[in-house]
Structures are given as C-alpha cells and as structure tokens.
Symmetry: C2
Subunit: 99 residues, 2 copies
C-alpha cells in the first residue's frame, strides 16, 4: 500500500485529464449537455445552448478533443462533436451519469 509503488499509470493519467477537463465550468456544461442529449451536436448548436464566445468554445473543444473526451466529425462547414461515452465509462464507470 505504498503510493511510491503505485505510480500514476497511463490510465491514471487519463483519469486526471478527465478531471481537469471537468473542472472548468464551460467544459463541464458541454460534456453534460452532450451526455444528456445522447447524440452528437454541431458546434453552432452547442454555441446556441452554452453562452461562450466562439473562439473560447473552440479552445475548450480542442482541449476536450486532445484529452480524448470527444471526437469531431466534419460535414460541409459544420463540425459535429460526439462524446466518447464508452471510453470514459471504461475508466470511470458511472461518472457521466452522475454529472
């Protein structure tokens, strides 16, 4: 039960990044929104629901993408954002449901 012998693994790292992502109000709202609607949303649709400057939104979505919480699909000039529910549930089961 020594913490030095249970270092932060890659999975722990992923968990920590998920926590980091969810520690910011805007990203918290985005993630919860995506989970609740249960399907992908266009960025503009998200922007209509969450009052965030579009470049700030873009920044947050990039953060979520880099951490691996969302995946983006481009269609025409729209981008659709999808929550990686399974991937999150694999390391932190039930977390999304309790947001």
């Amino acid at each position: 039960m020594d913490i030095k012998q249970s270092p932060v693994s890659a999975t722990d790292e992923f968990k920590r990044r998920i926590f980091f992502a969810l520690s910011e109000p805007g990203r918290y709202k985005i993630v919860r929104m995506l989970y609740r609607v249960g399907h992908e949303m266009g960025c503009s649709e998200l922007n209509r629901h969450v009052e965030i400057d579009k470049s700030t939104m873009s920044y947050h979505l990039r953060t979520l993408r880099e951490i691996g919480l969302v995946t983006t699909r481009t269609q025409g000039r729209e981008k659709f954002v999808q929550l990686n529910v399974d991937r999150i549930n694999a390391v932190l089961p039930g977390l999304l449901a309790s947001l």
Copy 2:
C-alpha cells in the same frame, strides 16, 4: 434540455471542485491513498508515502480541506487527515472506487 436552464448548482459546484482537486497528481495520490487505506492518516505518515515537500503537502491538504474532501483532526502535535468518503459518494457515487 437547455443548458442555460440547468445552471451549475451548488452540487455541481462541489463536483467541479472535486474534479479540480483530483486533477493534480499529488492530490490525486493523497486521495487515493486515503481511500485505499480506509482510515485516517497522520500528515507525517502521508509524507512518508508521498514524496512531496512538507509545505507543498500542507498546501495540498489545505486545498482538499477547503473543498471538503478531507477533514482534519489534531492530536498533540500531529494532525490526522480523514477522507470524507460519504460526502463524496453522495454526489459522485463510485468515483473513489474507480481511482
């Protein structure tokens, strides 16, 4: 399903702060350690397990205390840190178990 109609409540705020707390490696380790051992630990005992400068440790423990994840009890010149398991499970059930 409008996010503006489901603002971040006090509970959401608490959740967000828990995420913030766990997004830092040192605090993540401290919390996991406390959860795994299942009982309170003295600061010096924690210090022996987690390699953190004592003032940094004090800073992190204060943060955890202010957010409400731990409670501290003083006995003599020692301080015992206890994880508020029930309080955390009340808002994010199963989270601690998946750290």
